[in-house]
Each structure stands twice: as C-alpha cells, then as structure tokens.
Symmetry: C2
Subunit: 240 residues, 2 copies
C-alpha cells in the first residue's frame, strides 16, 4: 500500500512580506517523514479568506491530509477558523469544550477570558480539538484538515498531538554519500546508477564550503533498506 | 496603479522530504518588497514534470511574475528546463550563447565541458538568459517566468540579475511596535485601530523570549508613509 500523502498550507502575510522566515514546513516535513507520510506539496497564502478557502479546497481534495499553520490567535487578523468553516460549508461558533479549556487556563494564569480570547474557542462544526500543551488554545481537525498555530513551539507541540491519531506508512530509508567533485563530473555515473535502481530515488545536492571545497551530497531514498544499502555501496564504489 | 504581483515556485524533493530548509522564498520576499513587487503566493512541488508544469501554469496565469528555484544543474534530477518548456509548449535545446558562457567558464577552471555540464546550456526556445556571476551556468526567463538555481548563493545572485529588468512598484512602508502584553489583551484596541485605518494592514505577531517575557509585535503596513506614521503613533498611544 502506498504511503499516505500530505500537504502543508502556511497562512500568513508575514511570510510573504519577508518579515518572518517559515520554519514550520521544514519541521513538519521531518516529522511526517518519520511517520511514513509523504509531504507532496507546500503552499503559502496571505491572510485573505478567499485565498485560504481556494487553497484548502484544492489541497484537501488532492491529498490524504492537509496541515495548516497560522491565523488561529485572538486578533482581528486571525481568520483561519472562519476560512476553514467556509471551505467546508459549516458554521463556526464558540464551543463549550474549547471554552472550558480556555477558562481553566486563564483562571490559572490570572488573566481575563475576554471577548478576544474567546475567539480562540471558535471552531467549525464537527471539528475535533487538537491539544495545545504550550498555551492551551486548541487547534482543530475538520475532515482531513489539521489546523495549527503559527508560533513554532506551539505548531511543533500540536504536530505531536495530531501524529499519533493518523495512520502512518513506511518511513523511507535514505543514505547520503559526500563527494568532493563537481556535479558535472558526477552526473554521468549518477544518472546510470539511477537508471539501474528505478525503485529508488537519487538526488544530488551541491555544496560549497566556506573554505572553498565543493562537491555534492548524493542521496538515495527508498522503501526497502536492503536496496538502499546496495545502491549506497554502488555509489561509494563509483565515486571512491 | 497597484504594485506588480509575484509568486515563488520552489522545485525540490529535498525540501519536501525535510532534508533541506528552504530559505530562497524568504530571501526573495525581502528583495521583492524592496522593489515594490508584492509576493502573493509560494508553492513547493517535487521533482516531477507534471507537478511542475501544473504549478507553473496556475501561477503564471495568476501573477505578473513567477520565480522558480531548483532543478537547473547537470544531474538527472534537474528537470526544470524541460518542465518549463512543456508548460509553455516550446522545445528545449542547447543554445549557442549559453554554451559559449559555459565553455569560457570551464576553460578558465580547467574542467571539461562534458555532456552533463552541457545540459545546463539547454533553455526553452525564446528564453532570455539570467546572468550567474557565481558559477556561470545561467538561469533564464521565459514569458513572465524567471528560472533560477536552488543553491542559495546562486539564487540570490540571480535575483540581483533579474530585478533591475523588472518594472517595480511602491515599496510598502511599515512600522513595528513591540508590546509586552498578551495578544488577548491587545486584540480589542488593535481591531478598533485596524477598522479606523482601512487603507493600512495591521498584523499581530506574538513572541515568547527565552527569559519568559511574552507579548506581540504589532506591525502596520501601507503605501503612504504619512498614514503609517499616524497609525504607528496611535498604536503607541493605545499601548503605552
């Protein structure tokens, strides 16, 4: 059975303006890989409902899972819950279980659960809450869409809350061989090896160190560890 | 006149597998902002021609410019030029001016311009070359699509080669106010200010320092510096 597939949707003007460098996609990619879920696409869109809805509907139809980051805080620019509701055609309202979580959290920290904070208890109808052990305000899953915070520490914690609930696949096995020769000299033999192992994927990632050394990291990936080990040995033999 | 719009298309299995963290999108976002070109979307797709073609055709129809990174080296997994040719329905072949650039470069470095390296002179019919002052092998522009290398230093150099050829817009003016209070306490007054300045965009970006201090950076952006300054003063007054 092929691995489940996934897409990431980053929601945030601050990424597109250059103010903030997204790292949530990279974090998610690594954790999904560990679970044998293949991340197949990532998109970033601005904080505009029609753009979020359009991207959500394209991605949730194309992949087994969609993960989103950003736009679920208490301020006026946090519009993700409403956009997800619009994408699924369901109403969005404050829900009792989410309100209870927030009320307990703010009671314990001596802060007021005011109207703005209560916005974080608004979830689309039919959603399941995602636990947030960092700052309480939950994420949520609707259908195959997992909606998480943009703050990296909270995003990462929510990923750990969601992953155990998902059916995983076979984590790929990979091996990397560092070769200090120009890619142009490696390309011929590498292409021949890739043709000899059509069940594996071969990548060449050039590097240039600060001291001027350059070359490429050759990476072979696949589902079958024995085949990857065989291909790695062939790579080492070819570029010894 | 509204600013020109742009999208970024990152091409690379290594980003989606979690091996490499993309930084080219962040770099491009900053440089486009300086030029008054609005980055409106970013996508990452794997090294698969149908996926690249589909994304290119969606993005080049929707935005004034599309910038791509990755997949223009000499190895078998470098398929971007062919994908761009397929997206535009034009043939891709070694071109004399690109071959001349590569021949001069490899002659000067004592390396052979072999078949693999000559692949880097293959460009779609009708393309304009993009200068690569780092490692010679050029990028290219076809229509409104600017095709650049994935290696960050080369990507950045190619961005500098392309930007002067594009019509820019009005760089947005922004101001940032750091407030050490929870977002839930800022949200109400911030929303009121955002409603009072509908021509500006207001963002709230929560932070948590290592020492436990937390709050939000409130950012106001717009085309008119005087209006942004007025809104910044209003923010400072509201959260003094």
């Amino acid at each position: 059975m092929p691995n489940p597939t996934a897409a990431m949707l980053v929601i945030g003007d601050e990424i597109l303006s250059g103010r903030t460098r997204d790292g949530n996609t990279h974090h998610l990619a690594g954790r999904l890989g560990d679970s044998g879920i293949d991340l197949r696409e990532a998109r970033t869109v601005p904080d505009e409902q029609p753009r979020i809805v359009e991207a959500l509907n394209a991605l949730r139809g194309a992949y087994d899972h969609v993960f989103t980051s950003g736009g679920i805080g208490p301020t006026h620019d946090d519009i993700t819950a409403d956009a997800v509701g619009a994408a699924f055609g369901v109403p969005v309202d404050v829900r009792d279980d989410a309100r209870t979580i927030l009320a307990a959290h703010y009671a314990s920290t001596g802060k007021e659960l005011n109207e703005a904070r209560l916005r974080m208890a608004r979830v689309p109808e039919g959603a399941t809450l995602i636990d947030n052990p960092v700052s309480a305000a939950p994420g949520f899953t609707v259908g195959n869409v997992h909606v998480m915070a943009g703050v990296p520490a909270i995003f990462a914690a929510m990923v750990e809350s969601v992953l155990p609930t998902l059916q995983g696949g076979t984590p790929p096995v990979s091996a990397s061989v560092r070769v200090e020769r120009g890619e142009g000299d490696l390309a011929g033999p590498l292409g021949e090896l890739a043709a000899r192992y059509p069940d594996l994927s071969f990548g060449s990632y050039p590097f240039q160190d600060a001291d001027g050394r350059h070359g490429a990291n050759l990476v072979v990936r696949g589902a079958d560890g024995a085949r990857v080990a065989e291909a790695e040995a062939a790579l080492r033999a070819a570029f010894a």
